[in-house]
């Protein structure tokens, strides 16, 4: 065990957690702004700390863009009364938000967000079974929701929890199956090596477009976003699994949802869109200078933000699926499609070898 490794890992963890939480906070703002634009509104443009108006040009401009809104939202969550309703199962009620957010944060650990910065690989844990780890952890996210639904001792959260478990199980499988063509093509489970393969051969979305579509739809279902937001369907279930939660406990569910969005976007970028690589300006190869390394991190973040916007955008395009339609889509459309996709990929690879 060398100290260098420990120190650099801790630094990387701190920075990544900070960046992810920042991204989460500002994706909430992005959600509000984009939804506002789509609905012919302006979105949050007032919230500002008292000192903002003394900053000459920047202060009013940032206020117009709502840049201080996440700060206010966070403060609001912190200072609200943390209410525990009577009749809840206290231990599980307290445990559920943590069980929800921990897997959401853990997924980020294996994702390579850049090539090299100095002599450090820009990934927290360069696991050889990166994809398997991700799937293992992501499936745990459902426990938080089911536990929340169960612990609240109230019918709507309970429905939310049940829906969530059914939904997660049906989409988990198609999601796993959809990645297998990628693994067949690359032949590695390590996410860094998958990116390395893409830097020489081109992005995997070209080789496995169907896999990408299935993966994307499944990840919408996994993160409980519209059109698959059945566990928290506001119009049907009040608030779904987090109906009984308030204050920071509610905020943790909220953060978990957006962290899940970040990690699924990161997975999509890594698996299908070449991670930190870009086919021009020499961004294709691991960086040998500091500037290059930073540029690649920026490329990764930009790709990630693009998918975040897609996540948000799609929310205003579709009505929510009915429960049975959701099951139908998961089991009877995507699962066979994913299996056929595996078969075709395998046959093509066999013929070419």
């Amino acid at each position: 065990m060398d100290w260098n490794f420990i120190i650099f890992s801790l630094v990387k963890i701190a920075i990544v957690v900070g960046v992810v939480q920042g991204l989460v906070a500002y994706s909430v703002l992005a959600e509000r702004k984009i939804s506002a634009w789509i609905q012919d509104r302006v979105g949050p443009n007032r919230t500002a700390p008292p000192f903002a108006k003394y900053i000459p040009v920047l202060g009013p401009l940032l206020t117009r863009w709502g840049m201080f809104q996440p700060l206010a939202d966070g403060l609001k969550f912190l200072f609200k009364e943390d209410f525990t309703p009577g009749g809840v199962k206290k231990i599980y009620f307290w445990l559920a938000p943590a069980v929800s957010i921990i897997p959401a944060m853990l997924t980020i650990a294996v994702i390579p967000f850049g090539s090299m910065l100095g002599h450090q690989k820009m990934v927290i844990a360069d696991l050889n079974v990166g994809i398997l780890y991700t799937f293992g952890i992501v499936s745990m996210g459902v426990y938080g929701i089911v536990l929340a639904g169960y612990a609240a001792n109230s019918k709507y959260p309970f429905f939310g929890g049940i829906r969530s478990s059914a939904q997660m199980i049906s989409y988990e499988i198609s999601m796993g199956m959809s990645v297998i063509p990628v693994l067949l093509i690359v032949g590695k489970l390590n996410l860094s090596q998958i990116i390395g393969w893409q830097s020489t051969h081109g992005w995997l979305v070209v080789y496995a477009p169907l896999a990408f579509i299935i993966f994307m739809v499944a990840s919408f279902a996994e993160t409980n976003r519209t059109p698959f937001d059945l566990p928290e369907a506001e119009t049907e279930l009040v608030g779904g699994y987090h109906t009984e939660y308030s204050s920071m406990k509610f905020a943790l569910f909220f953060l978990a949802e957006y962290s899940n969005m970040v990690s699924s976007s990161a997975m999509m970028v890594t698996l299908f869109f070449g991670g930190w690589t870009l086919p021009f300006w020499g961004l294709n190869h691991p960086a040998n200078s500091l500037g290059m390394g930073l540029a690649q991190i920026l490329v990764f973040l930009l790709k990630l933000c693009f998918f975040m916007v897609v996540f948000i955008w799609v929310r205003w395009m579709f009505p929510r699926f009915r429960y049975d339609q959701l099951m139908d889509l998961g089991w009877r459309r995507f699962l066979p499609l994913a299996l056929v996709n595996i078969l075709i990929t395998a046959i093509v690879l066999w013929l070419r070898s």
Binding site: W37, D40, W316
Partner: protein
């Protein structure tokens, strides 16, 4: 009797959800583009921008002055009596009270208060006023931090009310009276 609604089975193309996706993409993009770059937003930024209030709107009642800057109210207290929620309170000048600030009017109120929290903007005070001294004007957003702040006194009401010449009843009375002093009366 049950009515059977025939549902057309979806075509293969429709079953792929693709037309719906493209349609949604088009609509949302159009709206987002319109709001962002063409200023087609439908909302108004309220405290800075306000609706233009139509004529005849019944907003907050204020006292008005005549064209010479005199208080029109003569403290007859009709509005106080007619006010359904009892929002108006008038303190008359009393025996040795305040002189009216214009000639030929007998008196003016010592104090005139409208509790804007009680006021229901019915407009009865305006209708009943023989002097046309009180009008429902166009203010609709009265803001205060305390209840006391929203009881408007005479100065405030007069300041907010502005000038309204109206029928100028007392001016004509004064002219008539002056004419009577010189005899013979002009016809």
């Amino acid at each position: 009797m049950a009515i059977t609604v025939n549902r057309k089975p979806l075509t293969f193309w429709e079953k792929l959800y693709l037309p719906a996706i493209l349609g949604g993409l088009k609509v949302t993009t159009k709206h987002a583009w319109g709001t962002l770059f063409q200023g087609k937003k439908v909302t108004m930024e309220y405290p800075e921008q306000k609706w233009s209030v139509p004529a005849g709107y019944r907003g907050a009642p204020y006292l008005v002055k005549d064209q010479d800057g005199n208080t029109k109210c003569v403290s007859c207290q009709l509005c106080e009596f007619v006010c359904p929620p009892k929002a108006i309170r008038i303190t008359p000048p009393g025996d040795s009270g305040l002189k009216a600030d214009r000639a030929n009017a007998e008196k003016m109120p010592l104090e005139f208060e409208i509790n804007m929290l009680r006021c229901i903007y019915c407009g009865l005070c305006q209708e009943v006023c023989p002097e046309e001294a009180i009008f429902l004007q166009k203010d609709y957003s009265l803001v205060g931090l305390t209840r006391k702040e929203l009881i408007y006194d005479k100065e405030k009401l007069l300041a907010l009310g502005g000038v309204s010449p109206g029928i100028q009843k007392w001016k004509h009375k004064l002219e008539e009276a002056k004419e009577q002093e010189s005899f013979p009366v002009k016809t």
